[in-house]
Symmetry: C2
Subunit: 315 residues, 2 copies
C-alpha cells in the first residue's frame, strides 16, 4: 500500500534485524516458527478517500481489507492463518459494521484465516489489518531471490481494477460486462491462492501487484539486483482494455492483487503441465536478465516506460 512518494519513509524505519529472519522490505516480514518453518506477517491500512471512496459498500471494504493482506502472505509462498483488525471510525454505526464484518469474515473463511485480535478507536474511517501465515523455510518466496534467466509468470488479468476506478470516476466508459467485471476487480479482488499454491514450490521469487505491474516487478528487480525483459503481448491484459488502447492501466494501474512469480527455465515444462492440468490462469511474460534494466517490448520495439521505472541501480 506504499505510495510512491512515500518511499522516502522506508529510510526512517529500516534497521538491521537480529531476531527476525527478514524485516522490512518484502511483502511480509518473516520470523522463526520452528526449525523448518517461518511465520510471515504483514500489515496494511485502507483509508477512506485514499484507498476507497466514501459510501463504498462496507461489505466490500471488509472483504478487501482482509484480502490485500492475505495477498501479501500468499506472495511469500505462505498460508494465511491468523488476522488482527484495528478499525477507526467517527462514531459506531451498527448497519455499517454488520456489513463490514460480513465481508471481512467471508474473506477470512475463503482463505482459512481466523480473526484473533481487534482494536476499535474513534477517528477518521480507517481499517488496518495484520495477517500471519506460515511457510516452509525452503519454499519462502523473497523479492530478492529472482535469478538471471528465470521465467517471469503473472497470475490472472492486469489492469481491471484500475479501469474500474476510472469508470467510477467517470473518466472512461466501457460496455456493461467490462464495467461490472472491472469494478468487481477493484472492490473485491480475486486472489489466486490455488494457482500460487500449485506452482510455488517451483518458484524463486514473488510479489503481489498492488502498486502496478511495472512498479512491483521493479521491486523484485531492485531487491534481486537483476533486470527483466518483458513482451507486452504476453502480459495478461483484458481484450477490451487492449482494444481501447488502455494498456497503461495494466502496466501502471495498482490494486490488481495478482502475483508476479519468477521460476527457473528448468521448471517451465512442469509449470506448463500444471497450467493445462489444473486450468491455471497463469501467463509467462518474460525473463530475468543480468542487465539491471526493465525492458518492455512491443513487436521487438522497446516501450518508453514512465519516468523512474527504467533503471534499478541502487541509489
Amino acid at each position: 500500500m506504499m505510495q510512491i512518494e512515500f518511499k522516502i519513509i522506508e529510510k526512517f524505519f529500516t534497521k538491521n534485524n537480529i531476531k527476525a529472519y527478514k524485516g522490512i522490505g518484502d511483502d511480509a516480514a518473516l520470523f522463526k516458527k520452528d526449525d523448518n518453518n517461518l511465520w510471515a506477517i504483514s500489515t496494511d491500512t485502507l483509508n477512506e478517500n485514499v484507498h476507497f471512496i466514501t459510501n463504498t459498500d462496507p461489505y466490500k471494504i471488509g472483504w478487501k481489507a482482509m484480502a490485500v493482506n492475505v495477498s501479501d502472505i500468499l506472495a511469500m509462498g505462505a498460508s494465511p492463518m491468523f488476522a488482527l483488525l484495528a478499525i477507526s471510525m467517527p462514531k459506531p454505526n451498527n448497519d455499517w459494521l454488520k456489513q463490514f464484518s460480513k465481508g471481512l469474515f467471508e474473506c477470512c473463511k475463503e482463505f482459512n484465516v481466523e480473526l484473533i485480535g481487534g482494536d476499535t478507536s474513534r477517528g477518521p474511517l480507517s481499517i488496518n489489518v495484520t495477517v500471519l501465515g506460515d511457510v516452509k523455510k525452503n519454499s519462502v518466496l523473497l523479492r530478492s531471490n529472482a535469478k538471471i534467466e528465470d521465467d517471469i509468470w503473472v497470475t490472472g488479468d492486469l489492469g481491471l481494477a484500475a479501469l474500474g476506478l476510472k469508470i467510477i470516476k467517470k473518466k472512461i466508459e466501457a460496455p456493461t460486462v467490462i464495467t461490472k467485471k472491472s469494478i468487481q476487480a477493484l472492490e473485491k479482488p480475486k486472489l489466486n491462492q490455488f494457482t500460487i499454491d500449485k506452482i510455488k514450490s517451483f518458484c524463486n521469487a514473488a510479489i503481489d501487484i498492488s502498486d502496478g505491474f511495472v512498479a512491483d516487478l521493479s521491486h523484485i528487480l531492485k531487491a534481486s539486483k537483476v533486470g527483466a525483459s518483458v513482451h507486452l503481448k504476453d502480459i495478461p491484459i483484458n481484450k477490451w482494455i487492449k482494444k481501447a488502447g488502455q494498456e497503461n492501466l495494466a502496466l501502471y494501474g495498482g490494486d490488481d492483487y495478482q502475483t508476479i512469480l519468477t521460476a527457473s527455465k528448468k521448471m517451465r515444462s512442469k509449470i506448463e503441465k500444471l497450467i493445462h492440468k489444473d486450468n491455471l490462469h497463469l501467463s509467462r511474460v518474460g525473463i530475468i536478465t543480468k542487465d539491471k534494466k526493465l525492458l518492455i517490448s512491443d513487436n521487438g520495439k522497446e516501450i518508453k516506460l514512465k519516468k523512474g521505472f527504467t533503471h534499478f541501480e541502487k541509489k
Copy 2:
C-alpha cells in the same frame, strides 16, 4: 484503546477460535509458539485529535505508539519481541518522521523490541502498531483467571496521565512539578516491565490500565465472573491529586498504562519481600470477591461509582 461507546463493536468481531489459543477479549491474542510457549499479539491505533492533540511532539507520539502495545504484551505476562508499524499521514514530513522514528526506536530499544514490518499510506495522521511477544504457557496472565480471595495489586501511580490531559486542556492548574510529571505520564508513559517480570510468576490475572482503573478492573471481574472489594486509601494516587479532591482521575482517567494484577493470598508474603528487596512500586489495593460487584470503600463507606461500573453480570 477501546472507547466505552465502542464496546458494542466487540459483538461484530468476536467468533469462536479454533486455531488460536485465545482470541479477542484480552490485552493480546495468544497462539501456539511451541509445546511450552505461546505468542501474544496486540494491535493499537493512535489517532490525531483523539489519542493525541495536534502538534504533540512526534518523538513522544512514536514512543507512546510503541509503549501502549508493549503494555498490552506485558499485561499478558509476555516478553515483547517484534513490532509492525502502519502509519497514515497527509503528506510525508521528514522532520516529523525523523523525530517520530527516534521516539519509536528508543521505546523499541528499552523493551528489546525489533521493528520488522511497516506500511505507509496517505490519510489523516494515524499510527497503528502491532507487537508480538512470547510467554510460557503456564505463566500467561489472562483477564479471566482472577480467583476469589486473590489480592489485587497495582503498579505505579494512577491518575497522573488524566491530570496531564486536564492541565493541557487548561481545565485545571497544578504546581510546576506536578504539571511536568503528569504531562510526562500522559505523553511518555513509564511501563513497569521490571515489576511485572518480578511478580508475574506469582499472579493469576492481569490487565493494563488504558481505560481507567475502574473500567479495567471491571474487565477482569467480568471475564473472571467475580467481584472485588477495593479500599480507596490503598489505591496509589499522587498526594497532590488527593489533596485537590481529584481522586476520580485515578478511578476513571485513562492512559495510565500501569498494570492491575491479581495473585493468591498465599503469594502475598513472597510479593511483599520482593517489593522491599527490589524497591518495587506496587500497591495492594483490595481483594477479589465472590459477589459479582465492584465495591470501592472510603473509611468503611461505599463510594457510589459512575453509572455502568457497579454490576458485572453477563448481559
